[in-house]
Amino acid sequence: MRPLTQEETNTFFDKLSKYIGENIKLLIDRQDGTYCFRLHKDRVYYMSEEQLKIGSSAAGECLVSIGSCFGKFTKSGKFHLHITALDYLAPYAKHKVWLKSSAEQQFLYGHHIMKSGLGRITESTEQYQGVIVYNMNDLPLGFGVAAKSTLACRNCDPMTIVVFHQADTGQYIREEDTLT
């Protein structure tokens, strides 16, 4: 368990900023205490100071997870966000997509969101912008990447993919063993 290097932080924040933009600052500079990101087994964990103290006493091999996992660095050095980061992304989300209740289940099973399932979308969402997916009751279901901008969405036919699926809360069940 170590703090992120400059590069890693860069890539990580780059990725994160697609979803929550400058709200990352709220994660780093918190009012209610000191929080930090830590890398452990290629995974980035977000934890409080207390947790860090406790966790630092554990041997690296023994530590499975600490705090909440934001995602992992792939072998090629990219960063993948995990569904476990949703709790921190959702409140600070810049761009949101609301799903119709019919498309909700489809998304939760790992499918991309088609225009037919799109209930609402934040204005001025650009293409390949990270979006948080909500259901119509404003419950965060997951996140993804906008396949089309808001404008393009209006004109496309209903079967075109609007949002690429990245993570959904269904993964908590589907990938129970791999999620940390």
Partner: protein
């Protein structure tokens, strides 16, 4: 089939491989060379078309074995008419086989027919499963029984009936059907079946039987005694307890004596106890008695004797009163005991009998001493005694154990009786359950009823009668005892010093008991010296040994007693309850138990002494406790104390050694440093990450964002850390309700104040204007008010208007303060604190609120006082609730009421109208206006004070309603309250839920409002009517 005699053999041959054209005769011709051919059978197998395929022949050849062989040799595999011959011995022909079988079957049939040979057929004969009940094939009346046995079916005739019953063993057998044979009945019991050999038993056999030699038996008895040891313990207690009871009829002094004696009795009883089990002991105890009677020299003896004397005395008394069987019994028992005691040593029997006269003489002496009346009777008794002794001796010579026991019991019964006498009330209930063991208990004063159970000699019967008599004549006995106490006194006097000594020693019973033992021993010694008998000396030696054993036992007892003190404290609590006996307890067992209490006290004193001794230590501890300890001083000392406290064990004291605060502090410092370093690290990290973020997002953007954050200090909550806290939600709700309530309440107060203000103002107008002048700001307003109500309202309005810009609280405060000041003026007191408040309006809202409330109360009181002075005040009070109401229903109600009022009222009210109509004005202002208008109304209606008084009750009712209204309002508020976090659906749901209630509430409110309006209208009408009437009257008068 073989004829061994001739050597001829008949064989059936198979000849195969014959050509089809061979005939029978050819075969016969050919084989006749080797023997006699018979029974030729030629068979030809034909094809489907009738063409012969092969043919073969069977024939019986009768001839010699060698010839047969020759035949085989010559014809085997030889060609005959183009075909190869094959010879074989053929299998037996089927018919022959059958024949043979039949023949065989015939043979066993013949065997069966003969009934003599009943051989059960084998189960193997049965083909198929041998199920029980299956009949054997070919055999009638044979069935397969259970367990695979073949059993015969029997036809039996029943014993009573003529009928012959068929018993199928497969059904009946092994169902435990037993055919009884009457002859088998045993007339003799089982015991008689065994018998003994007449030859005398050897030692080993005897032992086997359980008969041990005499020496061994003694040992056994001793052992028995040792085992019995716990019993005497209880006996002792019984003894003690019952002694108390015994004391009852006697004088206190005597009781005390007896008490001591009772203590002394314990060994005696031990002795008696031993008597029951071991005859020698009896002698011991008896010897104790007898010499002591003879020689009253030693004081201890006297003590022990006195008791014993008492018993005989009593007996004598009884004798004198009644038939006098007891004394005789007693003597007899003594004698018998003497006679019995030598049973172990048969040689001493005679000596024992010799000694018995001595005893008799002593008894006589005793009797003479004590009761000279009973001498004549005793002489007779003696004769009886002698007879008895003779009898007993005879018995002993017979060595009859049973008789011995009975005699022992006889002996002991009187003793028991002695003790039972004082307790005639102790009935004979326990008598029925008497065992040999129980008799021992009987000795120990549980009324001597061992007699009942034991079918004894006439003596026992006598004792029985006596006991009955005793119970009857107890009172007489008591009287006589009193008479004879004169005789006792010397002995008591003698004993008394010893008593005191004993009592001193009695601190613990055990010690006393030991002493007693010793005393007894001494007595014994004295006695021994006096006797100077050679044989007796042997006895004495033995006795010594016994005493020692008894001592040991006693010690054991004491140990056990001590151990059991706490356990058995229930029954003998008074005895065993040692420490902390309260005064009440002593009160409870007073009188006879005095001596005991004394003992107790002595015990207590000892205990207390012990306590004190221990307490001295504790005191020192105490002192130590309050000593200032240097190592407990200062901060470190505090820590130490804390540590000590935490440690819990008071025994473990912490010294200065345990303080290692320096190191701790250092550690702490280090820790802090570490912390700080860690924090610094984190800070650095944070800064680094922020820098990275700047790079990622762009500095301008981030700055903007941070600015934004600063601007709207929206606190974003980490949803992970947030937990639902129901209490918080409740608190929120409460806050909401408060917020909702306050606007409702404050107007009330305001209105009240306004009312009072005006009313008091009017009152005080007459009084003084001086105080008004003191109030700088308010005086102006008041003066204005004085000038004209109209102007006043205007000023208030203006004031309020000016304050509208301020927060509501400020306006409220101001209004309050104004009212306060007015109040002060009315009181003719200037409250500086209030003035201060006035100056610092915004500072403390709550405080002012509370103060206002309190002041209001005062105000109310004052107004009440003032009401006595003028009617106006009463009116004002009457108006109060109304004003309140108007305050509540300002929007709906007030305008209407006011319009109604205006119709009747002067033009002043009309001027107020715009104020009322102004909805944009703050509530307080509006209310003030309303109240003012109301006040004015009332003031205008001064002349109609009577009418107002009439209308007052209505107002009161309204006041009552007020609470209701408030409730409804509250309900409305509550119903309308919604959690902020609700989503749209939840909102809707909630709304749907509350809608009906809200509707209901609003309807109710409306109804109430309407009602109120009607009432007011009615009132107004009444007033109008009255006015009209007045006017008419006036007109009439004018006219």
């Amino acid at each position: 089939m073989t004829d061994l005699d001739t050597g001829l053999v008949t064989k059936r041959l198979f000849i195969g491989g014959l050509s089809s054209d061979i005939a029978k005769d050819d075969l016969i011709e050919r084989f006749s060379k080797f023997g006699k051919v018979d029974n030729v059978k030629l068979t030809t197998r034909l094809d489907d078309q009738g063409v012969p395929v092969k043919s073969f022949a069977h024939l019986d050849l009768e001839g010699e074995q060698s010839k047969l062989k020759k035949c085989f040799d010559t014809y085997q595999n030889t060609k005959w008419k183009g075909s190869c011959l094959k010879l074989q011995y053929a299998k037996e022909s089927f018919l022959d086989k059958l024949k043979k079988e039949r023949e065989k079957e015939d043979v066993p049939k013949k065997v069966d027919a003969s009934p003599a040979a009943v051989k059960p057929p084998d189960i193997s004969d049965i083909k198929g499963p041998a199920v029980p009940g299956t009949p054997l094939p070919g055999k009638t009346d044979w069935v397969v029984g259970k367990y695979g046995r073949v059993l015969p079916i029997m036809n039996l005739k029943k014993s009573n009936k003529l009928k012959v019953v068929k018993h199928d063993p497969s059904k009946l057998c092994h169902t435990a059907k037993i055919f009884k044979d009457e002859s088998l009945d045993l007339s003799a019991p089982c015991e008689k079946l065994t018998w003994e050999i007449d030859t005398p038993d050897s030692d080993i056999t005897k032992k086997r039987k359980g008969d041990f030699l005499v020496t061994q038996s003694v040992k056994k008895v001793k052992k028995h005694n040792s085992t019995m040891s716990p019993v005497p313990d209880s006996i002792c207690r019984n003894n003690l307890v019952q002694k108390q009871n015994i004391n009852m009829p006697m004088k206190p002094a005597y009781s005390a004596k007896n008490q001591s004696s009772s203590v002394l009795d314990i060994p005696e009883f031990k002795g008696l106890q031993m008597l029951s089990t071991y005859p020698v002991d009896l002698k011991l105890s008896l010897t104790e008695d007898s010499p002591s009677l003879d020689v009253p020299g030693t004081k201890l003896e006297n003590k022990s004797l006195t008791r014993h004397k008492n018993m005989p005395l009593k007996k004598n008394d009884f004798k004198s009163s009644s038939t006098g069987g007891i004394t005789t019994d007693f003597k007899i028992c003594e004698n018998t005991s003497d006679s019995i005691s030598p049973t172990k040593t048969q040689q001493k029997e005679s000596n024992g009998s010799n000694s018995s006269p001595q005893n008799k003489t002593s008894q006589n002496k005793r009797n003479l001493k004590v009761s000279p009346l009973g001498v004549g009777a005793q002489s007779e008794d003696n004769g009886n005694d002698s007879a008895d002794t003779e009898e007993i001796i005879a018995r002993h010579t017979k060595k009859c154990n049973l008789s011995m026991q009975s005699s022992l019991e006889n002996k002991l019964t009187p003793v028991a009786q002695c003790k039972a006498k004082p307790l005639p009330s102790r009935s004979l209930n326990s008598s029925l359950s008497d065992n040999s063991l129980y008799t021992s208990e009987c000795f120990t004063y549980s009324p001597g009823l061992s007699d009942y159970s034991l079918p004894n000699t006439s003596l026992a019967n006598r004792t029985l009668e006596d006991s009955d008599l005793d119970s009857n004549d107890f009172e007489l006995v008591a009287k006589k005892l009193e008479q004879k106490e004169t005789v006792f006194k010397p002995s008591i006097v003698k004993a008394s010093p010893m008593e005191t000594k004993a009592e001193q020693k009695v601190g613990q019973i055990s010690t006393t008991v030991k002493e007693n033992c010793e005393s007894v021993v001494k007595v014994m010694d004295c006695e021994i010296t006096e006797k100077k008998d050679k044989k007796a000396s042997d006895n004495i030696k033995r006795l010594k040994a016994i005493r020692e054993t008894s001592k040991l036992k006693l010690k054991q007892q004491m140990v056990i007693q001590k151990a059991l003190e706490h356990v058995d404290s229930k029954d003998f609590g008074s005895v065993n309850r040692t420490v902390f006996a309260s005064d009440s307890e002593e009160d409870v067992d007073d009188g006879p138990t005095k001596s005991f209490s004394e003992i107790k006290i002595s015990k207590k004193s000892k205990d207390t002494m012990k306590l004190f001794s221990s307490s001295s230590d504790s005191e020192s501890d105490y002192e130590e406790m309050f000593k200032s300890k240097p190592h407990f001083e200062g901060k470190k000392g505090e820590q130490l104390i804390k540590m000590e406290r935490n440690f819990g064990d008071s025994r473990f004291k912490l010294d200065a050694k345990f303080v290692d605060t320096d190191s701790e502090e250092e550690e702490e410092k280090n820790h802090i440093n570490e912390k700080s370093s860690q924090d610094n690290d984190l800070e650095e990290e944070k800064a680094a990450s922020l820098r990275v973020l700047e790079n990622v997002i762009g500095k301008s953007n981030l700055d903007k964002f941070s600015e934004k954050l600063k601007r709207n200090t929206k606190y974003i909550i980490d949803m992970n850390t947030v937990r639902f806290d129901p209490t918080k939600v409740l608190a929120q709700k409460e806050v909401q309700t408060k917020q909702n309530l306050t606007p409702g309440k404050i107007p009330l107060t305001l209105t009240d104040r306004a009312n009072k203000k005006s009313s008091l103002f009017q009152v005080d107008m007459r009084k003084s204007n001086r105080e008004e002048e003191t109030n700088k700001t308010e005086s102006v307003t008041k003066q204005k008010q004085l000038e004209s109500t109209k102007v006043e309202t205007c000023t208030t309005e203006t004031k309020n208007k000016s304050k509208i810009s301020d927060p509501e609280s400020d306006t409220l405060l101001k209004t309050k303060d104004t009212s306060d000041n007015v109040k002060n003026a009315a009181k003719s007191r200037v409250d500086k604190s209030l003035l201060n408040l006035f100056i610092s309006k915004e500072s403390e809202k709550d405080e002012s609120n509370t103060q206002v409330f309190s002041l209001l109360d005062q105000f109310g009181n004052i107004s009440g006082d003032s009401s006595n002075e003028s009617d106006l005040d009463t009116k004002a009070q009457a108006i109060k609730p109304k004003a309140v109401l108007t305050g509540l229903f300002k929007n709906s109600q007030d305008p209407k009421t006011k319009t109604t009022k205006t119709s009747t009222n002067s033009a002043l009210n009309l001027s107020d109208q715009p104020g009322k109509g102004n909805n944009t004005m703050s509530d307080s202002e509006d209310l003030v206006n309303n109240t003012m208008s109301d006040l004015e109304d009332e003031m205008d209606d001064d002349d109609l004070s009577e009418e107002d008084s009439i209308s007052e009750p209505d107002d009161e009712k309204e006041v009552k309603k007020l609470g209701q209204y408030e409730e409804t309002d509250q309900a409305l508020i509550n119903a309308g309250r919604i959690d902020i976090r609700y989503t749209k659906e939840v909102w809707r749901k909630h709304w749907e839920e509350i809608r009906p209630t809200l509707v209901k509430l609003y309807k109710r409110k409306h109804k109430e409002a309407v009602k109120n309006k009607r009432v007011q209208n009615e009132r107004k009408r009444k007033q109008d009517f009255l006015k009209n009437v007045k006017n008419r009257n006036w007109r009439h008068i004018k006219k």
